[in-house]
């Protein structure tokens, strides 16, 4: 068995007991990258010094340092998370040569723990998309079957973990961008509660919704990485610690709006139910709940996230960094041409949409209404958590689709209905594999809890992982998956 096939927890144990070295793990992972990358395309930029970094970690361990469980573990970083000295492109032509002057706080946490950064993973441009096919560089393919999409926008991170091109990965989740690709690739994806992980250095497109998230092959792996990056950062004023009392029973709310057969495919609904029934046999109590505003979640999400994106991406004007058009004459022309050339179609679509919903005359009808509806959704979810500990839903309403499948923007947008509620309400949400679709690709189930009650999610997901016999079965072992 190659070292890249193990979980981070297993490797950590092996490192501590001297059964392998960080350099050996890094070597196996780098060889695996060479092997799988041509067909998968998980990365945009590789860390050239990965092997040397691993040797340094081994030296430090031999001197008695680095007690952290993730020291020496290769971790992939999504290319919208700033890495000092390593280009961070957001998969956009606009930033294709941008090298950040500072590390994101999460990356800083990795460095301090002695984790190894494998490289920067592919994504949808500026994290806008759900198939990692709006990248300026290339499309990422699903390692389980490369004819299929790895999902998105953190498709590169999910594919890297699935294929063994990294042991763990950081992604970002604005509306499902960690959970959906995790479900496509048969791995675990966790979006922390808003404010639980510092956003410093995350090149967000919708900062009120976006969080850095974690991906791993097991629940324990995701939890380990989450614990590492959720360290308090005094430089992110939105960081907050919430705590909820622990509950010994497990009451799972099943919102009928997210199991509606007009929205969710039979395969996905059935896979989720089979996972829930398994938990039920272990004593969990299932309750059907109703959260009426969930029906509008995708609509609310696309108004608010696009509004923020139109403002957030305005800084890419060619003045200080990033793409500057060589064909411009004068200031206005430099702005227009740099942005026209630097951004792809999906980014432009959302900038235009966001500019429209904030403009005089449409602000009331769209932006302010969406804000009000978001507040109502939050209230409804708050109320629901009086009667249940966690909420379960399919991660995505349909099985993984083929790579390069043509879909209309509105079809893609409305398929985010299951994942965006956690972002709109700032809730922690965890996706785990729960079955295989007819096309042989995995589908996922998603668990959400109130902020501060992450432990409920990890506990329930571990229980399910144990009951179902592990998630490797959903990755199938075909293609490049491990």
């Amino acid at each position: 068995m190659k070292l890249y096939e193990y979980s981070a927890a297993e490797l950590s144990e092996m490192l501590m007991t001297g059964k392998c070295s960080s350099a050996e793990i890094a070597y196996d992972v780098s060889e695996r990258i060479k092997e799988a990358e041509p067909a998968v395309g998980a990365y945009i930029t590789l860390n050239d010094s990965m092997l040397r970094d691993a040797e340094l970690i081994d030296n430090a361990r031999n001197r008695g340092g680095l007690p952290h469980p993730l020291s020496g573990i290769p971790i992939a970083v999504k290319d919208n998370i700033s890495t000092a000295g390593i280009r961070t492109t957001c998969a956009s032509r606009m930033l294709s040569s941008y090298i950040p002057p500072y590390d994101a706080h999460a990356v800083d946490c990795l460095h301090r723990a002695g984790s190894i950064v494998t490289g920067k993973t592919n994504m949808d441009e500026f994290a806008m998309g759900s198939a990692t096919d709006t990248s300026f560089f290339h499309t990422t393919h699903n390692p389980i079957d490369t004819a299929y999409s790895a999902g998105g926008s953190s498709g590169g991170s999910a594919a890297a973990v699935c294929a063994g091109e990294a042991i763990l990965a950081l992604g970002s989740d604005t509306g499902g961008s960690v959970r959906q690709p995790a479900s496509f690739c048969g791995i675990v994806g966790f979006k922390p509660a808003y404010g639980a992980v510092s956003r410093r250095g995350l090149i967000a497109f919708a900062p009120s919704l976006e969080q850095i998230g974690v991906m791993g092959k097991t629940v324990r792996d995701a939890e380990l990485l989450y614990q590492l990056i959720s360290e308090n950062d005094p430089m992110d004023p939105m960081m907050r610690t919430c705590s909820c009392k622990h509950s010994s029973s497990l009451r799972i709310g099943v919102p009928k709006e997210l199991f509606d057969s007009t929205i969710v495919s039979d395969e996905c609904r059935e896979a989720s139910f089979s996972a829930l029934r398994l938990l039920e046999t272990d004593g969990a109590v299932l309750t059907e709940i109703s959260v009426p505003k969930l029906r509008y979640a995708a609509n609310i999400y696309y108004v608010i996230s696009s509004a923020e994106a139109s403002s957030e991406l305005a800084r890419y004007d060619g003045v200080r960094y990033g793409h500057r058009s060589q064909n411009a004459a004068g200031l206005e022309s430099m702005y227009v041409k740099s942005r026209t050339e630097g951004f792809g179609d999906e980014v432009k679509r959302r900038i235009m949409l966001g500019t429209f919903v904030l403009s005089e005359g449409s602000r009331e009808a769209y932006y302010l209404r969406a804000l009000a509806a978001m507040r109502e959704l939050r209230h409804e979810l708050d109320a629901v958590f009086d009667s249940c500990d966690i909420i379960a839903a399919p991660t995505y309403p349909r099985p993984p689709f083929s790579a390069n499948e043509a879909q209309s923007a509105t079809d893609k947008y409305s398929a985010d209905i299951c994942t965006v509620p956690a972002n709109l309400a700032g809730l922690p949400a965890l996706s785990v594999p729960c079955g295989k679709a007819k096309n042989g690709l995995p589908v996922g189930i998603q668990l959400m809890s109130p902020a501060g009650a992450e432990q409920r999610l990890f506990a329930a997901a571990k229980k399910y992982e144990e009951l179902c016999g592990g998630f490797a079965q959903f990755r199938g072992g075909s293609g490049y998956a491990v």
Partner: protein
């Protein structure tokens, strides 16, 4: 046709915090270009702001000084527009819910109190500076990005350029008194935009408002208002109509030009800043900040003119200057001499010294106590007024106590009759020609003789006594 003029002002003042509003870069003027910058104030990808608490506190203090309501909860908003000096392409400001609203500032115009309404005060970040003097290229200095500002928006309550000017001077000194801004015009740390509208005299309906930007000094505000008032007057008198527009003031040409008309008014697409939490102002904060607010300039001016009888023009020199007013009030409180003589010292020799040497009162050696001692020494005739100037220079340059300086420099005034009699006799006998002149009716010869006595005594003889005894001596001899 006669018109009434209504003037409103939007004043931006930079706050004197140590660091910038959203990052820890120093808030410092005059550094080499692009040295006080970081990923946050340069708008780098992924950089997030942190709100400097002191900015909020200074904003609250300014609001309290201007009798505003302080919002218990307010928030920051994004104002979106493209400009090369604005690195994020949005300014973090306050739109819907400002920190302070609904206040006023009293000003004194021709000895009448006028109350000018304050619509709102909000906090926001400053932008960078474009530098055009480098050949064909425009360079950008981002040092000023993120310097904290308050924007004070008045109601259109001023009726003349003189009132507007008085408002600006009063506001500037209020902000200096409460120690939130240096208001250094030459550093651009206080700037203003002007709104002018005219309506038929006596009409209650305000006319169309025209805004003027690019005003870099209070005196150019004055000129811009006068220009705009005249422009609108001419237009309206000729039966024309005023268009709602924004004009750019060109101070060197003394004219304004249309910048934006109502049709292409900028849509800033304001929305709540997602990176910052709501601002919560507690009663504790308000009480703390209130304690920093001293008696304000207009109240001082009123007190100086009515209670002490000091003329407005002189009193305002002291009342609008925090350092001078502090010196004056404390010296008066010593109760050792008349406020009038302290006022004279401050607006006379002390101000001249400060202007000549370019320093402030705290940089000199004088204290309110020593100034009061000096006034007392003159009023009780311990020293002459000419000796007092010598003492003052000692105090300003070296400090020390008045008594010690008088002793050390031997400046005590001598009023002893015997001494002055002998001094007068000596001068009379040495200046017989002047004595003849005086007796022949040239009365100004007396002044010359007094001067000779003072000179002979090295300034220590009491000049009043010298004059009295000279008179007696000269007239007595005539009698003989």
């Amino acid at each position: 046709m006669q018109f009434d003029t209504y003037i409103g002002l939007e004043v931006h003042a930079e706050l004197k915090t140590r660091s910038k509003i959203f990052c820890i870069c120093p808030n410092k003027f005059g550094s080499p270009a692009n040295t006080n910058v970081c990923p946050v104030c340069m708008g780098f990808p992924g950089a997030r702001p942190m709100l400097n608490r002191q900015v909020v506190l200074y904003g609250v203090r300014a609001g309290l000084a201007l009798d505003c309501d302080i919002a218990e909860f307010s928030r920051m908003d994004r104002k979106n527009y493209f400009y090369p000096d604005l690195p994020k392409a949005y300014q973090i400001s306050q739109a819907e819910i400002p920190l302070c609203s609904n206040g006023h500032l009293d000003i004194l115009v021709e000895n009448q109190l006028r109350r000018i309404g304050i619509e709102r005060i909000h906090i926001e970040e400053d932008a960078g500076k474009l530098v055009h003097d480098n050949g064909p290229d425009t360079l950008i200095d981002f040092n000023r990005c993120g310097v904290p500002l308050i924007e004070v928006v008045t109601r259109p309550d001023m009726r003349s350029s003189a009132e507007a000017h008085e408002f600006l001077e009063t506001l500037k000194s209020v902000l200096q008194f409460i120690d939130v801004s240096d208001c250094r015009m030459e550093e651009g740390s206080i700037r203003c935009d002007v709104n002018v509208s005219l309506c038929p005299a006596g009409s209650s309906q305000l006319g169309t408002r025209v805004e003027m930007k690019n005003i870099n000094s209070f005196s150019s505000a004055l000129r811009a208002i006068e220009y705009e008032t005249a422009r609108q007057d001419t237009l309206l008198s000729a039966g024309g109509i005023i268009h709602q527009e924004t004009r750019k003031w060109d101070d060197s040409r003394g004219e304004s030009f249309v910048m934006r008309t109502k049709e292409n008014v900028a849509d800033y697409r304001f929305f709540p800043e997602p990176d910052l939490a709501a601002i919560h102002i507690t009663d504790d904060i308000i009480n703390n900040e209130r304690a920093y607010i001293p008696e304000l300039p207009t109240a001082k001016l009123l007190r100086y003119t009515t209670k002490f009888g000091i003329p407005h023009s002189e009193a305002s020199i002291i009342a609008f200057d925090a350092e001078k007013a502090g010196m004056f009030d404390e010296a008066v409180n010593c109760g050792r001499c008349s406020p009038r003589s302290i006022c004279n010292w401050i607006i006379g020799d002390i101000t001249k010294y400060l202007n000549d040497s370019g320093v402030g009162i705290p940089d000199t050696g004088i204290t309110p106590e020593s100034l009061a001692d000096l006034g007392e020494a003159v009023e009780s005739k311990v020293i002459s007024s000419s000796a007092a100037k010598t003492v003052l220079m000692e105090l300003l340059t070296k400090g020390g106590s008045v008594g010690e300086i008088i002793r050390r420099l031997d400046l005590a005034q001598n009023s002893d009759t015997e001494y002055i009699t002998s001094l007068v006799e000596e001068i009379i006998s040495a200046n017989q020609r002047s004595v003849e002149d005086y007796r022949n009716g040239k009365t100004n010869a007396l002044g010359y003789l007094v001067g000779q006595c003072m000179r002979r005594s090295a300034g220590k003889a009491d000049p009043v006594e010298v004059k009295r005894l000279l008179n007696i001596k000269l007239n007595n001899q005539e009698d003989k």
